[in-house]
Point group: C2
Chain length 358, copies 2
């Protein structure tokens, strides 16, 4: 068993930001009745573990290689995780699918940061946190096939004195092709839109926009990919929500996360089947490698989860954090594709994000 | 002419740190007579431009390919630069040799950060800065040949009201082999030690230690390479300095920087001649690629100059900053070399820095 961390579920941004700027001291009061609601943690853990297995089975089925599985534990009963990695397969260069369930005392810096984000935590409280999630990054060999990232997580904080709990969901999925196939972009976004629309008419547009903003490589003035959805701090249904009325907010948002998560396998496998055996030239492979370089730049320079993980190596399972990096990448000085080429076409999309869903 | 920045001389860490922790408010008083000293800026600029040419000639001579030269200007007479890059040559995968000379008003955040570092700046002053330097990173193709980084810079700040100036030098050179050749490590360090010893008996040991500390990849618990020297804020001679007594401190430290800088070409060319044509296996090339991945991690996650440059894209010439990245790199999940191998030997050195100079 390996050393462990929560980074694999990308829950750490919270803690990292605590030592950064506190923007707003206002504390929102969450419905106190939430305390009496059904504990969804066992269901959420079962969900992410089941889907992790389904994703690994689907990816492995397409590739022919098996995943290496590392189960790890944090000392003092502070959590468990399962890292599944398929490296240098027939179809995939690297595929990492992680689940982790971690808990423990929330650092004071994280407490004040969460208060600033509107979490109803008492000043001076020493809350315990719980975080569970699934996270994946998949890099195919074929430059016509897109890289994909996905993450869904549930976070809960409990005041040990008042027993008051606050909770929220975060997550999303986003696609990073080296070459643009509009058919893939439309299929990926439409599946997510369908999952969103089952729950709330505002979700998809909000979360697509959030995705474009979050995965923006500032120093390159371009997005990492062509979009998807991204959300965080989701802890109540909007007023015009269309999800089942017999569910609590917590159950309803879990159902939403579940629908998004379960849309992944059919969509990505469908895209991969179209792309994995397409012919390509050495020049196209090289272009993919340059785009992989940008992926590395985003993950190492900007991604909040990765940055936090790397800044706290003693608490982190570094190998699970960095499994998101591609097997290979390339950086050329002053490379810019010629106008009118397929390479220029994808650059135009990452510089000017588009709506794809139908 | 391209958009421009000071990043190419790695002078920006100052400004970046200003928004980080201020450790110590004490302000040191620098000798006011410094104002009347000879202006060394023209000599320093001439030095770095001459040596840039010599380095490019030497590297180009070994490689057979020529450097691409981009001269750039910052708007409003705020500086000039010359970026020389040789990419995908016969011997070198990527070699970037940059000179820049930049000036302008120092941002308020940088002022308070510099005061905290002991620079004699008045509170509320709006000083102008001047920064000149040479910076290079060279990545050879052959995995037996080491990557090298070098940077020497002169920084000056002037209070526009009192006309008081403060100034300092920074710089160093460090070697990053994928395979350990003790002969190379000894030659590289001994040349730097000889240059240091001509000026002060304490320099080499201090600056080797500083180098090991600065180029440490915290999240990997290993150094980027096997060392060299690194110094910053150097603005006076130690008491037992052995440099020429007829020189001012400023001239003496410039002479020291010059000796270090001029030791580079003979040393690195000598090492490269031994390594550039050595036979190697595909496995050894792959190991080099993994070590290149670590280089990328250091530069994108930890290097202060790179981080600052990437966080201020509008002031930065991004291509000059990121020319330090290798052409190609690789990340494998859970890779660890077997005990007793040559790969394990270099890991032992980066985990336990050694003294090499004789």
């Amino acid at each position: 068993k390996a050393a462990a961390s929560a980074e694999t579920v990308e829950v750490e941004p919270e803690a990292k930001e605590a030592i950064e700027v506190v923007e707003d001291g206002e504390v929102k009061t969450q419905d106190a009745a939430a305390d009496d609601e059904k504990d969804i943690r066992p269901d959420f853990e079962a969900l992410v573990l089941r889907v992790q297995q389904e994703i690994c089975d689907a990816i492995s089925g397409l590739d022919g290689h098996k995943f290496r599985v590392d189960e790890w534990e944090r000392p003092n009963n502070r959590g468990i995780g399962k890292s599944c990695v398929l490296q240098d397969g027939n179809v995939f260069e690297k595929a990492g699918v992680n689940v982790s369930v971690v808990k423990g005392p929330l650092p004071p810096a994280a407490v004040s940061q969460m208060r600033s984000r509107g979490k109803p935590l008492r000043e001076g409280a020493k809350p315990n946190f719980y975080a569970a999630g699934i996270s994946l990054v998949i890099h195919p060999h074929n430059p016509m096939a897109p890289t994909v990232h996905l993450n869904y997580r549930f976070f809960q904080v409990e005041d040990p004195e008042t027993k008051e709990k606050s909770w929220w969901f975060g997550g999303g999925a986003d696609l990073t092709p080296s070459y643009l196939f509009e058919e893939d972009a439309v299929e990926f976004h439409s599946a997510l839109k369908a999952a969103c629309d089952k729950h709330d008419p505002t979700y998809f547009d909000r979360f697509k926009k959030w995705c474009d903003e979050y995965f923006y490589i500032k120093h390159r003035k371009e997005s990492r990919g062509i979009g998807g959805i991204f959300f965080d701090d989701l802890d109540e249904r909007p007023a015009n929500s269309v999800s089942r009325k017999d569910l609590t907010d917590r159950e309803a948002i879990m159902a939403f996360s579940k629908d998004c998560l379960e849309s992944f396998v059919p969509t990505y496998i469908s895209i991969m089947k179209r792309r994995k055996d397409m012919p390509f030239t050495p020049e196209q492979k090289e272009w993919q490698q340059l785009r992989r370089g940008r992926y590395v730049e985003f993950n190492l320079v900007l991604d909040r989860g990765t940055k936090f993980g790397l800044s706290t190596p003693d608490n982190a399972r570094i190998e699970s954090i960095l499994v998101s990096l591609p097997l290979t990448a390339r950086w050329e000085y002053m490379h810019e594709p010629e106008e009118g080429t397929e390479e220029a076409k994808i650059m135009d999309v990452v510089r000017n994000p588009r709506d794809w869903a139908v």
